[in-house]
Symmetry: C2
Subunit: 343 residues, 2 copies
């Protein structure tokens, strides 16, 4: 059991806690033999939930935390004040290396702030980016950074590109991932000050397969595997992508239900349409990892159900087994060495 990957699961976070969270984590336990789960959360609801299932009790622990950080709370203040919340307790276990990873569907702000303040950055990492996987017409792309750190510097974007590339190759399994930077045109002279400064630095990176600019219109078609951007832009991309998809599907659905004729048509196309849309279900890929920390922190959607939680926990196992953090440390350390040599 000593070689098991230990994942702390926030049983209190998200719209469907603790039911779907506990269910999904136990599904992962069933699928992964070398996994130990540590649930954090309020004693009463957590124990009540666990009682519903039969599972390998040797690989499940509970650490109670009676406070809960609400979605609307200012993140940094909440992290500092609520020491006995599932998020703070869970992150502290990662910090003390009592766990390898932490999964939460709770407040994004609190998870991000806690990741930095409690777990802390790997040596050499300037900023830990949040990097969700987004479904495209052609598989899945990593959008890095969508985190809380807006107004990034060029050197930070370069680190995002390297960390994202390692993640896509080792955890998601994309060989030689194509890395691109979000820009407003393909021509050399296009871009804002940050992109113009970052572009030549990315071109110099031998460790990544940099393919240049990506225009936003090509993102849904999967034109790059790792999409590098500053967090404000990344957040706009993530939310607009979700918003546009949900609005259009709502319109299509409404149209299908608008008359008897369309309802009949809908019956005929429903199975095929469901299959198509399943390809765009991000939950099959798990949550968004926060990279560059001394341990893994994964943020799943607030609306995550069991399938996404399951996948997020399994993602932690891959991350840990693939020793992603060692690879990130090694690559960023190599850079420091070459920089100091140049200096």
């Amino acid at each position: 059991m000593s070689t098991n990957v230990r994942v702390v699961v926030d049983a209190m976070g998200g719209d469907n806690a603790p039911g779907e969270i506990v269910k999904g984590a136990l599904m992962a336990l069933e699928a992964q033999k070398n996994l130990t789960l540590i649930f954090t959360g309020r004693k009463k609801p957590l124990e009540a939930e666990l009682k519903k299932y039969s599972y390998d009790a040797d690989r499940v622990e509970t650490v109670f935390a009676e406070e809960v950080i609400e979605m609307a709370e200012p993140p940094v203040a909440a992290i500092r004040k609520k020491k006995d919340s599932s998020i703070v307790v869970g992150l502290n276990m990662v910090k003390r290396q009592e766990a390898d990873a932490f999964v939460s569907a709770g407040s994004t702000g609190a998870v991000l702030a806690g990741g930095q303040l409690i777990v802390g950055r790997l040596k050499g990492v300037e900023r830990p980016p949040l990097a969700p996987l987004i479904p495209t017409a052609n598989g899945v792309s990593l959008l890095i950074d969508c985190g809380a750190n807006v107004d990034a510097r060029a050197s930070q974007l370069v680190q995002f590109a390297k960390m994202g590339s390692i993640y896509m190759e080792r955890v998601v399994g994309v060989k030689r991932p194509r890395v691109a930077i979000v820009n407003i045109g393909a021509e050399e002279e296009k871009g804002n000050a940050l992109v113009k400064e970052t572009m030549p630095l990315l071109k110099e990176c031998k460790e990544i397969h940099f393919i240049g600019s990506i225009e936003a219109r090509d993102i849904p078609y999967g034109a790059a595997d790792v999409i590098v951007c500053e967090a404000f832009v990344g957040n706009v991309i993530l939310k607009l992508y979700e918003g546009t998809s949900s609005m259009l599907l709502q319109q299509v659905k409404r149209t299908l239900l608008s008359s008897l004729q369309t309802k009949l048509g809908a019956l005929l196309i429903k199975p095929a349409l469901k299959k198509t849309l399943k390809g765009f279900d991000a939950s099959q890929y798990g949550g968004a990892p926060m990279l560059g920390l001394k341990g893994l922190v994964v943020k799943t959607h607030g609306s995550a159900k069991a399938a996404e939680v399951r996948q997020s926990v399994i993602q932690c196992v891959h991350f840990s087994k693939q020793r992603i953090n060692e690879k990130i440390s090694k690559q960023l350390a190599a850079d420091t060495t070459s920089e100091s040599r140049e200096a």
Copy 2:
């Protein structure tokens, strides 16, 4: 005829020039009695195209320009070099007040650069934004700025908000348009440096109906009428919105054609679906105005067909009749006065 609105139309710009351009402009001529058209472009193809139609020749002029600015040319260099191109000739007519407005489906970069370099800014305008209308589940919103001027300052965003508000109210006809700034969360402390600096300035504006932040996911639902942002972010929004929509519709279409059963279903839902999608056809609203210039410059899609060109020309008539530029000048001048009073 002296009170006619005079619109110069670039007969050479876009994928469907001169055919669809000439056709669309003449459709506008038919619809608007107080409109005079001035076509610029190469003599031979332009005259050949005009011969195909019968129209009120008293209200149609031609000014020949034998050069053409290609899409891939560096914009500023092209504007400086190709003095006899339809874009340069057309913009010069607006500059000399021989025309009120210029409509082009040609190179966006060249039109934007030419607008600034040739027509010039209204007094008090720091930057002329490009402001396309985007279709939403709830009508149409003005996205301002999607232009070439990235890395804007807070004072410039405030001007965008004011100009956009005037445009939506007077040209599009939205009463008391809701103005919002693109942000990554609704909470007060959210945002990048630019948004945090701009927010209090917008709150102080008495002339506009400012409703605060808009998250990208709410844009497709039409949560604001005037969506203020810096041009890099605006460009990402515009292109991602177009890209996501076209990708999803492509997927739905492919699904509908995937089997005999779905093809039958498709036949039943086609009329209703077509009607729904028509609501999202941006061309019914015309092109994107470049605001804050000494005259109106409208950029239509490169792929614009007659219907969009027609609408863009009619948009110029409304703009001119509503004396939008006088209103913009007056409001920005009022600001300067109040600022100097405060100083």
